[in-house]
């Protein structure tokens, strides 16, 4: 296990083009072995937040610390080699390569014992054993997500950034993917999870942030948010009441 574990994002303003931020002054923390969900409506900037942390966006201001060390603006490949794994929402596997090649390639970023880590992943995701020599492009949606997760975990990261891992999956496959996240977090891996299925994400997470229009709108215990009637109405599919505006953080 990598020593990297705790993530502190403070006052982060970032976007894809300089001068046009998508997220503004975002604060997020993820502790050791903690699952933190980021929920919010479409276009809230959830995926941009993850990409900014992963070094794939233009950062205007703010700071990102991992275990107290500032990693703001560090090149993505260096960041991921230091123990942070990012699973993009789409195009998160190399379709032209076999499952084996995908895992070996992803395992290269940890150390020289990549093959033993690959074995671990095959025991964590037994489905991948059966498809080991298959081209990743031939896998089903669920199998692809498991492969993407295995690619992220094969380097034994301390922190996992997950961008909508259940997007496009059948409900059962989505549930399977989410259920394995707790297993992943137990040994101490922190998980920052962006998820459209807010109820499922809050049911799984320890804490959560609600993003809207690129700003932090709420933060707190996930289960408390799940039972909050105001949040439920605004963000979790309940009926919207005009006079119940979300309280800023």
């Amino acid at each position: 296990m990598s020593s990297v574990a705790r993530l502190d994002v403070s006052e982060l303003t970032a976007g894809y083009v300089a001068g046009m931020p998508i997220i503004s002054s975002i604060d997020v923390t993820v502790g050791v072995g903690e699952i933190v969900a980021v929920i919010g409506p479409n276009g809230a900037g959830k995926s941009t937040l993850l990409k900014a942390i992963a070094g794939l966006c233009h950062i205007e201001s703010g700071a990102i610390h991992v275990d107290g060390t500032e990693v703001t603006g560090i090149r993505t490949d260096k960041l991921t080699r230091s123990g942070i794994a990012f699973v993009p929402q789409i195009e998160n596997i190399f379709r032209s390569m076999t499952v084996e090649q995908n895992l070996i390639l992803a395992g290269r970023r940890c150390d020289k014992q990549a093959s033993s880590h690959v074995e671990k992943m095959l025991s964590l995701f037994p489905l991948l054993k059966k498809t080991y020599k298959k081209r990743a492009g031939e896998l089903s949606g669920g199998q692809r997500q498991f492969l993407a997760l295995a690619m992220a975990l094969v380097a034994e990261p301390g922190l996992l950034l997950l961008d909508e891992p259940t997007a496009g999956l059948a409900p059962i496959a989505g549930q399977e993917v989410l259920s394995i996240l707790r297993e992943i977090a137990n040994p101490g891996v922190g998980i920052l999870l962006v998820e459209q299925n807010a109820k499922a994400a809050l049911g799984l997470a320890d804490r959560a942030y609600v993003l809207a229009d690129g700003h932090n709108q709420h933060e707190g215990e996930a289960r408390a948010m799940l039972s909050d009637p105001v949040l439920g109405e605004i963000y979790l599919g309940g009926r919207r009441r005009g006079d119940h505006a979300a309280k800023p953080v």
Partner: protein, 303 residues
């Protein structure tokens, strides 16, 4: 017919080697690099230069390889030419394209590549002269393996096909068995995901330029061995190289190999039914037909 098939495979092998670097760079950096064909000329002329140097240094190296018109000095010179052309490709990227990637869009890079190709072509003309030349004056008397009037084959041509085959097999082994190969495949398929998986994009792009340049040098040498060296050989080949890359699917290394063979065969077989003067139009027709029927090529993916 048999002769056309043979000639088509021969030309296709050369095109395949040249198209691999083109398709890699086009896919990774997302611009059509029209200067890639000039790397073939550059490689061929580097080989000519070092052939003369090695020949002057040692009499032993002037000996010809059995059956072939290729001397030992030329064989050694090709290795040097590969390294130098690869390095030149990386330097061109460093001086021209890398800066434009940051400051301008893909269209600017396409125009810049036209500029680079003109510069390289004219520098070659300035240094070596505008006249066509050969590696070896004996080349026109190269031994015929088959004197059958239906199939005229030179030993040099068999050598070119075998060399191309060996390089393609070696490339396949590198791509499928080594971590460098996985890295190249990963970056050519999805540069962002490659970075997420710990791959240094800048270093891999440099590697792709060097690999593409090295392969272009061999392609240029093979083309010149079968035809002649000329400062405009890049200009003559550019459309065929693009046709090979587009038919195979931009980004697909195996597609480029197959695309090269298809373009070579089509250009050669077309001569059976159309006059030779229309031959340059064949790659253009192939590009149009491919884009119309299968816009992503045979192995390409939509992006």
């Amino acid at each position: 017919m048999l002769q056309s098939l043979f000639d088509g495979i021969l030309v296709g092998s050369v095109l395949a080697l040249g198209a691999i670097g083109l398709t890699l760079i086009m896919h990774i950096l997302r611009f059509a690099n029209f200067s890639h064909a000039e790397l073939l000329s550059l490689g061929a002329y580097f080989a000519l230069t070092f052939d003369a140097v090695f020949g002057a240094v040692s009499n032993v190296l002037v000996q010809k390889l059995p059956w072939l018109s290729v001397t030992w000095s030329l064989a050694c010179a090709v290795l040097i030419a590969m390294a130098l052309t690869g390095a030149t490709a990386a330097i061109i990227d460093l001086l021209v394209f890398r800066r434009l990637r940051r400051l301008a869009g893909p269209l600017t890079m396409v125009f810049a590549s036209f500029g680079v190709s003109l510069i390289v072509r004219n520098v070659i003309g300035l240094v070596y002269g505008l006249r066509s030349t050969h590696y070896n004056n004996d080349i026109v008397f190269a031994m015929m393996i088959s004197a059958d009037p239906l199939l005229l084959v030179k030993a040099d041509q068999i050598f070119i096909m075998c060399l191309a085959l060996v390089i393609m097999v070696a490339l396949h082994l590198v791509l499928t068995r080594t971590s460098i190969g996985y890295t190249l495949l990963a970056v050519s398929e999805n540069p962002t995901l490659a970075q997420v998986n710990g791959i240094n994009l800048g270093a891999t792009v440099r590697l792709a330029w060097m690999l593409g340049g090295g392969l272009a040098a061999i392609a240029g040498f093979c083309y010149a061995l079968n035809n002649q060296l000329s400062p405009v050989m890049g200009r003559d080949l550019v459309l065929s190289l693009f046709a090979a890359a587009i038919v195979g699917g931009i980004g697909s290394i195996y597609g480029a190999v197959l695309g090269g063979l298809i373009v070579g065969l089509a250009s050669s077989l077309a001569l059976i039914i159309i006059p030779a003067g229309y031959k340059p139009a064949i790659p253009f027709l192939i590009i149009l037909a491919t884009l119309y029927v299968r816009p992503n090529g045979l192995f390409g993916q939509s992006r």
